[in-house]
Amino acid sequence: MRAFDYVRAQDAAQAVASHAQREGAVYLAGGTTLLDLVKLDVMQPTGVVDIHRLPLDRIETLPDGRVRIGAMVTNTTLAFDETIQSRYRVLSEALLSGATTQLRNKATTAGNVMQRVRCGYFRDGVSPCNKRAPGSGCAAIDGHNRNVHAVLGTSRQCIAAHPSDMCVAMAAIGATIQVQGPNGQREIAFLDFHLLPGDTPWKEHALEKDELITHVTLDPPMRNSRSAYLKLRDRASYQFALASAAVIVAVDKGAVSDARIAMGGVATKPWRAKEAEAALIGQPANEAAFQRAAQVAFQGAVPYSQNAYKIPLGMQAIVRDLMTVTA
């Protein structure tokens, strides 16, 4: 493995300062993405700023009803947290559907937000890949694109699906990402954080140079709602989603009074389907209405050579998930 320098940060300000001081430095949290990709030589840091012990490990309910999650809270801790399990069931389910016991024990909230795509051409280090080697092309468009490639939000430059389950639940819930940089702190709306590939697929998120995620703050839960995460994949555990759906629904007198729908495995970023939500709100809570909303969610989907099945599969995921939470 490529050599790099190391520094252990004691607090967020020191982490940012160390990062700013070294060209080619990266933040190291759980390491489950970073060290994997360094071993593959896909990421080539000159230095790592170890942030995994920063005192950003708390889950707090704020006076306004929001819940603030420290960047270093592990996926396991977050998934089993009582507040998350009782008020944000969809998030707990999404977390527990991802990766494995050991990986969730290491992986952090911020690291999950920052995880990289699973496209084999990105990871192999040699194929054309505009994310890894800007301008080299996209081998996936005419290559193996069945499993971890998107049908929504793609471009001619990149079709890799965003791999996170956690982020899909957060997209449905609504959240804010707090970051700290050399010029202080700022907030980024969760849905604005991940960027569509467009013509710049190597630019994956809204972080500015040296900025560090310190917290993710969840919006207050929807009143009188139920929520669930449904993940569909080739094997029963430990695999990335072919298609997944996070839904949060409130039903009043048989009609949908409020709804949130987000999708994973089918889109290049955690995908909030606001038009599908609008199509569902006010409708009777039944399968026909869910089918219509699912149709709306996949309007504009672009299938590639091997992943056209994701359009009906993604629609079925939404319908089944809505059926489950309204049953």
């Binding site: 060290l35 994997d36 170890d50 089993f80 016991t101 800007p134």
Partner: protein
């Protein structure tokens, strides 16, 4: 294949003529802000070279690690260990190669198979995806530390009784995950939940049914004796 025409990518390009960041100035700045210079300072091969270029002397008493090497101290199976490691040294490799604890196996080396699972402060992790330096002050338990006083851990005995292996390469990782899963009250006791919680440990020989049987028999035995 579409190619970019005018907007040239700029990310990940390092300008070779850009001035190197001045480490010494950085150290001075954090010292001035009240943070000890021994924390928050870059260390490693490149940092050591920078020190040499600047004629830097750390001036500390006692032996210092060689250039490009850092010291880490942790407890492994109850024994305190102090080691010099490279910044990019992986915990799994340090345990196997520097401490000779070869019970922990290297399978995929990418967090996909679970063969390298061990406990850090009681929590199972993939040791192939951890830098040794991340574990300063941690308590690490490997498969060599499961047996106590010459007596096998109940799950080790159960693996024996239920023939929960064939080639044995994944067994250390299965045991370390299994012990942690049985202890974790947040994980349900039914077969489905145990299979799900153990899904990070791949067995090429397909001993899954026997591993599950060994775990559930250990659970029943522990319950009876409790």
């Amino acid at each position: 294949m579409a190619k970019f025409e005018d907007d040239k990518p700029t990310i990940n390009r390092m300008d070779p003529v850009a001035p190197k960041p001045a480490r010494r100035r950085f150290l001075q700045s954090i010292s001035a802000s009240g943070i000890a210079a021994t924390t928050g300072a870059w260390a490693g091969a490149a940092a050591a070279q920078a020190d040499a270029r600047e004629g830097s002397q750390q001036g500390k008493a006692g032996p210092q690690p060689a250039a490009g090497v850092m010291t880490v101290e942790f407890v492994v199976n109850g024994a305190r260990r102090k080691l010099d490691v490279a910044p990019n040294a992986i915990l799994l490799d340090v345990l196997r190669d520097q401490l000779g604890l070869t019970g922990t196996k290297k399978g995929c080396d990418h967090g996909q198979c679970g063969a390298c699972t061990l406990h850090v402060n009681g929590t199972p992790i993939n040791s192939c995806l951890s830098l040794a330096l991340m574990h300063d002050g941690d308590e690490i338990t490997t498969v060599e530390g499961l047996a106590t006083g010459g007596k096998l851990h109940p799950l080790q005995e159960a693996f024996w009784d239920h023939d929960a292996y064939q080639c044995g390469y994944c067994t250390a990782g299965q045991l370390m995950s299994g012990v942690a899963v049985l202890k974790d009250k947040r994980i349900a006791a039914d077969d489905h939940a145990v299979r799900e919680a153990m899904s990070g440990n791949i067995c090429r020989c397909g001993a899954y049914e026997n591993i599950l049987a060994a775990m559930q028999s250990t659970r029943a035995r522990t319950k009876r004796s409790a």
